[in-house]
């Protein structure tokens, strides 16, 4: 088992664990963290699988990961701002399960 495959599997593991966390945890901050970890998992897989037939690592996935990190940062920022506003307005940090206003 080469190192890159190990890294890729670790990435998959992160993705799945974080997905579980996203679904199971009710606290919004935990959900946001879970999404971040999922993102990191994807990036890890991407970098790990970047080694192609050639000796030197493939730069294209690296470029994609950088773009991905930028996107993740902006998304997290938006999520945190929303979280803070939500706490301000409702006093809670969880979403109701049945949030459809009747």
């Amino acid at each position: 088992m080469t190192l890159s495959v190990l890294y890729a599997l670790a990435g998959v593991g992160l993705f799945v664990l974080a997905l579980h966390g996203l679904i199971v945890h009710a606290h919004l901050l935990r959900k946001v963290l879970a999404l971040n970890i999922m993102g990191s998992g994807v990036f890890l897989i991407m970098v790990a699988l970047a080694r192609r037939a050639t000796e030197a690592p493939d730069p294209v996935p690296h470029a994609m990961v950088i773009t991905g990190i930028v996107v993740a940062v902006s998304a997290t920022a938006l999520a945190l701002v929303l979280l803070l506003r939500l706490k301000e307005v409702t006093g809670r940090t969880e979403l109701d399960e049945d949030q459809t206003p009747s």
């Binding site: 999404l35 294209v60 994609m64 773009t67 991905g68 929303l82 949030q99």
Partner: protein, 484 residues
């Protein structure tokens, strides 16, 4: 078209102009309305120019910065992309006009609307013209984040919760999609759509990517049973934003799915997967319509109607005839116009009476006639009654189903149309009656009423001569990947 105009890179401008406009609106919020309208008009013009260029040239491929695939970013325009661009421009024009009137009132924050809306438009245009799957991811995220921010603009408890839920769902979808992109790149060494289409064959990575990407698009297009985030988000957002969300944003992910299905994965898609998607679409039609019938609030009714109508879009996956895709795209087009008009009308009614309880509509038919006409015309298209774009779409879908004796799908479409009539006329009926507790009416700016009527009339006009849109759709043969 004159030579200079023909050689301009309209394909780039149509993405750049709204981006620049968004920056300008952000820097000068006081001039937001003016800058926003100007940007809207120029973007619409550019989209039209691209359309003319497409008619001249055929399919257009443009390498950004002069670097081509597989390393550079390619933009690609065929009939389907330009159709989506024009649809966005039309709806965008209506929404901008509506927004000018809507945000004039006190208490509504205009400073956030224009930059975010124009950013969303840039994202949409970029998505429709993207030539590789990673670029699609970037534009998808841009679209998603601006949409979430727009939902949260209303500032109420429901809006913030809905926005949060929408954000979580959106990010989940994007990450699944990105993982799919990673798998594809690992297997084939490229992210360009055309190249992938030629290379893709059956192997585990491809199936993994297919599964992830289809699931991601199902989530983003609110296909039953992953639709739970849509009604609260679309109902609690301010009216022009609900219009944008239902008309355009959910269609973008559907467009993405179409591109993947026909251009990247044609070698591995099977009838069974199509059948699953079609079945979920049918479930969406029935479930969404029944839920819409049960609502007591107008905007929620319209939001559930979106869930139902999106179900129709997934039926062509299960239908065997190529006409079905024409029907699906036509439905996407008419639904965009009709649903935007309907949300705008609902917004007018909300503004007028201060509430949107259906049972208390209090003779709105008499007091807001332009708005009610808009609502009714939009309803005609949603129900699939002639003459309207919705009718043409329904006809094409029914023809596709009946040519191959697919009775169940035909029955689902007919029942869906009747249920739609149920919830549309529920509203129309109450619009004629007097409410028990009449309330003071607040005036509604004429721009808002006429914007709604204009879009609704557009949905009807689409039903009068379907040759042009269908001919446009054919350029580049986007559905050629399907066996007839």
């Amino acid at each position: 078209m004159s030579n200079e105009l023909n050689t301009m890179p309209w394909i780039v401008w149509v993405i750049l102009i709204p981006l620049i406009g968004a920056m300008l609106c952000f820097m000068w919020p006081r001039r937001g309305k003016l800058l926003g309208m100007i940007t809207t008009l120029i973007t619409g013009f550019t989209a039209f120019m691209l359309y003319l260029q497409l008619l001249d040239h055929g399919v257009i491929r443009y390498a950004l910065g002069g670097w081509g695939a597989p390393l550079g970013i390619d933009l690609y325009a065929d009939g389907l992309s330009v159709l989506m661009l024009l649809m966005t421009a039309l709806v965008g024009l209506g929404v901008s006009l509506y927004g000018v009137g809507y945000f004039k009132q006190d208490g509504e924050n205009p400073a956030g609307f224009w930059p975010l809306w124009l950013l969303m438009w840039a994202g949409l245009n970029g998505l429709f013209l993207a030539g590789d799957v990673f670029n699609l991811y970037v534009t998808l995220e841009l679209l998603g984040l601006s949409a979430v921010a727009l939902v949260a603009l209303a500032g109420s408890k429901e809006a913030l919760s809905a926005a949060m839920r929408y954000l979580l769902v959106s990010l989940l979808g994007s990450l699944c999609y990105l993982l799919g992109v990673v798998l594809l790149y690992h297997a084939y060494g490229t992210v360009d759509i055309q190249l992938l289409g030629a290379l893709v064959n059956s192997n585990p990575a491809t199936y993994g990517a297919l599964g992830l990407m289809v699931t991601a698009m199902m989530l983003k297009s609110a296909l039953f049973p992953l639709h739970f985030w849509l009604p609260p988000a679309h109902a609690s957002a301010p009216a022009p934003i609900s219009a944008l969300l239902s008309a355009l944003v959910v269609k973008a992910s559907f467009y993405l799915l179409l591109r993947l299905w026909f251009d990247v994965f044609p070698a591995v898609t099977t009838v069974d997967i199509g059948l699953v998607l079609g079945t979920l679409g049918a479930a969406a039609i029935l479930w969404g319509s029944i839920q819409a019938l049960r609502q007591t609030r107008l905007k929620l009714l319209v939001a559930y109607s979106t869930v139902a109508q999106l179900g129709y879009l997934f039926l062509p996956f299960a239908l065997l005839s190529p006409i079905a895709w024409q029907g699906g795209v036509y439905l996407m087009l008419s639904h965009a116009l009709a649903k935007a008009a309907m949300f705008m009308a609902a917004g007018n009614i909300l503004k007028y009476g201060g509430h949107d309880r259906i049972a208390d509509l209090d003779r709105v038919a008499q007091r807001l006639p332009i708005t009610m006409t808009a609502f009714c015309l939009a309803g005609v298209s949603l129900m699939g009654l002639p003459p309207s774009g919705g009718f043409i779409a329904k006809w094409l879908l029914l023809e596709a189903a009946l040519t191959h004796n697919q009775w169940v799908w035909a029955a689902v479409m007919i029942i869906g149309g009747l249920l739609a009539a149920g919830y549309v006329f529920k509203v129309v009926g109450y619009a004629f009656t007097k409410a028990d507790s009449p309330h003071d009416a607040r005036p509604v700016p004429l721009t808002m009423e006429w914007a709604a009527l204009g879009l609704a009339a557009g949905a009807i006009i689409l039903g009068l001569n379907a040759h042009y849109p269908l001919a446009l759709l054919d350029i580049g043969k986007p559905f050629a990947g399907m066996s007839p």
